[in-house]
């Protein structure tokens, strides 16, 4: 088992390094055989996107941590039953997306008082204000922000997003378009 210190020593850039489908299949096979280093490689490859996506959807570090953790625990629990011919990433990311959306909906049902971010409206100004792309993304309305995060952080397809959200695919595309248009001044507009 790689130590905690060894994991911490991994540079952030390396932690987010993409894993090819072939390499991922090999890692899943190794993890099924009990190779902890393979699990660690899968964790490094997929956890950052899971946490970031959850955070940008729910904007709550504790909830995001739980969502990403639950997704990985589900993966560990299902490891023996997992079909090695299927890619792991879409399955894991769909779990994260569903949990994050459930958490967001539960929170909205609560109608929290004093959560200024929930009431934030998309900025009408076209010039980049103070703040960065992360602030701008966080300030998008829930429906647009969720779609942008699922598409560009979790890399789900519009069809997968429509299935997760339970809305028509055209709605996903229009929300995505409006969200990306709002982010354009920060360098992430529609292209």
């Amino acid at each position: 088992m790689a130590s905690e210190a060894a994991l911490d020593a991994v540079r952030p850039r390396a932690a987010a390094r993409a894993v090819t489908p072939r390499r991922e299949r090999a890692l899943v096979r190794a993890a099924q055989r009990g190779d902890a280093a393979a699990l660690e490689a899968l964790f490094r490859a997929h956890w950052p996107a899971a946490y970031r996506a959850a955070w940008f959807v729910v904007r709550d570090a504790q909830a995001a941590e739980d969502i990403a953790q639950e997704a990985f625990l589900a993966a560990v629990a299902a490891l023996d039953r997992f079909d090695r011919r299927r890619p792991l990433a879409p399955w894991l990311r769909t779990i994260v997306a569903r949990r994050a959306i459930d958490a967001l909906r539960a929170r909205n049902l609560r109608r929290e008082v004093g959560d200024a971010a929930l009431a934030a409206l998309p900025s009408a100004q076209r010039e980049p204000p103070a703040g960065d792309l992360a602030d701008a993304l966080a300030a998008l309305p829930d429906d647009q922000r969720t779609v942008v995060v699922l598409r560009h952080v979790l890399e789900l397809t519009p069809g997968e997003i429509a299935a997760v959200l339970g809305v028509p695919r055209g709605t996903v595309n229009s929300r995505l378009r409006r969200g990306l248009d709002a982010l354009e001044p920060w360098g992430r507009g529609a292209r």
Binding site: A36, L39, F43, R52, D80, R107, V153, R188
Partner: protein
Amino acid sequence: MSGRRDPLRDLRAPGEPDARRRAWDVASAAFEERAARAGRAGRAPVWRRPALVAAAAAALLVAALSPPGSAVAGWLGDAVRSVVEEDRPPARASGLDELPGGGRVLVLAAPRDGGPAEPWIAGDAGHRRLTGPVHDATWSRAGRFVGLARGSELLAVDLHGRRRWTVAAPGPVHALRWSPDGYRVAYTAGAELRLVAGDGTGDRRVAFRRRAGTTTAFPALAWRPGARHVLAFADRRTLFVADTDERRVLWRRRSPNLTTVEFSADGTRLLAAGRRRVSVLAARDGRTLAQARARPGTTLAAATWARTGRRLALVRRTATRAEVLVGRPARNRIRLRRLFAAGELSLAGFSPDGRWLLVDWDETGTWLFLPVDGGRARQLTAAGRRFRARDATPRSWCCPP
């Protein structure tokens, strides 16, 4: 997607390094547990591998007889031992996997960075962190799930921290209590006492107090064991016992400032404790069966039944120290004897077999396992460190066989 690197993919979220470290701890622990299970299930007994054992023994003999080989004899000895001992259970990582009295303990561990407490479990179900910060936690009846309170959210997770359901409450959630049959969870949310089914559905209000102030309106709750869903709850002045299925109050009595109510395991008696007095009441009609008062200059801090229902424990505090007392109700009185005394103590409860009492000795960071029938006490020092925390408070000990 264009060929350019998408800047949205490079965004960082707050708290990522710490969250990543904690998540890896949990994931790797779950993986180790899975590997250990698979290893125990799939490994052939050592007697089926005589050739391997014989070869290793022969090698050891050759090494011992040969001067040049004597240097490696120790290593070979270790190798033989590892073959022979391979089928034994793995060494315990800490003193938390096997508790005196068995069962499992629910712990709230306050992190070293001063953040809110996180729920952990220790004991026969493993030793692991369940989720991020919460402010209250309770076992389900059989100890297969944990109910957690986080702000205005009530959630149920399994013993691996996987979320089973969530309820959005109308106010800060406190005082969770899972019914003995597992089909109801009672909790307070600000000024309300509420009830939800054990699967997270059917959330509804049971009682309401307009002048709740900043603290919870119902500081003490308990379910009665039995077929009906009978709940005891106390506001600032009155103790109620109600059938929540029929939505009917069975009886009430004036009992100001109760901090604890708890039914005995057979459901016939109700322990009702405040800072000045502890009473044992008849569960059927609220009649006082026995009681004890705090001496002048002392207060009562906690009280709980042993699983058998014949014995109870409580903490009595003076200005400088605390005492753990155990006793039996008899002839209108509760005869108490002192089990342990020290500076600052709090009760976590009796072991599932009723023979041990778990006490948190706060100022030393030590958990004490006190044998109530006599014998040698055991202790777990530096309890916080075992949960990677500044402080670890045992909340309750689960579950009766």
